[in-house]
Amino acid sequence: MKLVYFSWIREKLGMAEEDVTPPEHVGTVGELLDWLGSRSEAFEKVLEHDKVIRVAVDRVHIDDHATPIDGAQEIALFPPMTGG
């Protein structure tokens, strides 16, 4: 699946997107975040703000970290939005 990052999350990670293949046991958004945090120090730092990090699965906001990611093509991580 493709992961895409925005705003300060993109800057802190030093990349706008990456392709990942999570292990079998990663089945939900919450488990994906935990797994990503275990992969790199930069990600662990980003996840210190996990209370504010928003997630979109296939370009739709999700409010519940228990949301399954099975079959998802694109998962986006971004801070609270400040448009308008």
Partner: protein, 154 residues
């Protein structure tokens, strides 16, 4: 008859009068046009610009979802939302919402609803470009914006 909203995400500026004209031209049933234009501020001279980052794949879809909710909720005859991205200088336009209806209350409320939801749900992020040349910060989300959006929940 279902209203089809006009949603545009663009770098270039927009023309308020032309956008209103698009919604009202040839119509005899519209009694109210409410427009909201959001502009870039310089925060008392502190900023030379804002950089608007967006999620290209999602911004259009999310604003369309918000617009559909507005159309379901209020008897509108037209709805337009335009959001710019890229570098925007103080005094320039950032966002435009136009709600048109037979009567003013629907148009006022729908425009206000659109802006509250745009601010909290449309995937855009503002970065400041300070006038002193220092490294700019990302604008933090305001809790007031969340509570403004929450007032529309029944």
């Amino acid at each position: 008859m279902s209203v089809e909203p006009t949603i545009r995400i663009q770098q270039q500026d927009f023309d308020l009068a032309a956008e209103v004209e698009r919604l009202t031209q040839g119509r005899r049933d519209i009694g109210a046009v409410v427009t909201f234009t959001g502009l870039c501020r310089d925060e008392d001279g502190r900023l030379v610009a804002l950089e608007l980052e967006h999620y290209p794949g999602m911004a259009q879809d999310e604003i369309a979802r918000i617009a559909r909710q507005a159309i379901e909720r209020w008897p509108l005859t037209g709805l337009t939302a335009i959001h710019r991205h890229g570098r925007i200088a103080p005094g320039e336009n950032i966002v435009l919402v136009i709600a048109v209806a037979s009567h003013r209350q629907a148009a006022f409320e729908a425009a206000s609803f659109m802006m509250d939801y745009l601010k909290t749900r449309a995937p855009f992020w503002k970065k400041e470009h300070p006038a002193d040349g220092s490294q700019g910060e990302w604008v933090e989300a305001r809790s007031e914006d969340d509570s403004s959006a929450a007032r529309w929940e029944d």
